[in-house]
C-alpha cells in the first residue's frame, strides 16, 4: 500500500490534542478534525499511555486508549524483531541525540514509507528532514 501521503503522528501530537492548556493544542485540534491517514508506532501508544498513567491515573490512561481506538485510518506499526535492525541503525546514526526507542522507530517508519509529514512537537523527529507540523502551520 502506498503510504507516502500519510502523516506520522507522535506522542507529542496526541498529548497536545488531548491537553487543553498545551501550547499547540489549537493547531492539533484543527489537524485531528480533518486528519489524513495516520501512521504511528506501537511504542508511541505505549508512551502516551504511560504519560497519562504517570501524570494522571488509570482511568485517564484507559480513555487515551479509547481515543486511539476511535481514530479512523490510523495504522499502528508493530515493534517486533523484524524492525530491530532498522531501529538500531537509526539510533546509531543519531547516537549523539540520545533518541528514545519510540523516536528511533518513528524515524525508521517515516523513512520506510517515504512520509513527508510529521505531527510532532519533538525536534528529534525532524532529524531526517521531514518537517514537523508545528513548523508548517
Amino acid at each position: 500500500m502506498d503510504r507516502r501521503n500519510n502523516c506520522y503522528v507522535d506522542t507529542s501530537a496526541f498529548i497536545s490534542f488531548l491537553a487543553s492548556s498545551d501550547k499547540y493544542h489549537s493547531l492539533f485540534r484543527r489537524l485531528f478534525a480533518e486528519a489524513p491517514p495516520l501512521v504511528t508506532s506501537a511504542l508511541t501508544i505505549a508512551e502516551g499511555h504511560a504519560w497519562f498513567l504517570r501524570k494522571y491515573d488509570v482511568e485517564r490512561a484507559a480513555r487515551f486508549l479509547s481515543f486511539v481506538r476511535q481514530l479512523p485510518r490510523l495504522t499502528i506499526e508493530p515493534f517486533d524483531k523484524g524492525v530491530l535492525v532498522d531501529v538500531a541503525a537509526v539510533a546509531a546514526r543519531f547516537k549523539d541525540q540520545e533518541l528514545t526507542l519510540a523516536d528511533a522507530h518513528a524515524l525508521a517508519i517515516m523513512k520506510r514509507y517515504g512520509l513527508k509529514c510529521c505531527w510532532s512537537t519533538d525536534r528529534h523527529l525532524e532529524l531526517t528532514g521531514v518537517p514537523l507540523a508545528i513548523r508548517e502551520n
Binding site: F17, A19, D22, Y24, E47, F52, K55, R63, T121
Partner: protein, 74 residues
C-alpha cells in the same frame, strides 16, 4: 448565551475553581468546557473529537513527555 444555575458540592466547587485558575480561565468557562466535552460530538462521524482537551495539562505538556515517562535527568 443562556444563564443557568447549577448546584455543586463544596469539594467539586473548590476543585473546579482551582483547575480553572490553573488554566487561566473563569470557573464559568471551565464548566462550559466540561459540558462541551460530555456532549455528543456535533458530527457523529468524528467521535474522537470528543477527547480534545480531555485533560488540562500544562503549556509545555507535549514538550516534556520524556521527562514524565522516562524521568528527568538528575
Amino acid at each position: 448565551m443562556i444563564r443557568t444555575q447549577v448546584s455543586l458540592d463544596e469539594k467539586e466547587y473548590r476543585l473546579a475553581k482551582k483547575s480553572a485558575k490553573e488554566q487561566g480561565i473563569s470557573t464559568a468557562e471551565f464548566v462550559r468546557r466540561a459540558i462541551r466535552q460530555s456532549l455528543p460530538s456535533k458530527n457523529p462521524s468524528k467521535q474522537w473529537m470528543r477527547y480534545a482537551g480531555m485533560v488540562s495539562g500544562d503549556l509545555d505538556s507535549s514538550q516534556t513527555i520524556d521527562d514524565v515517562v522516562y524521568g528527568s535527568e538528575e
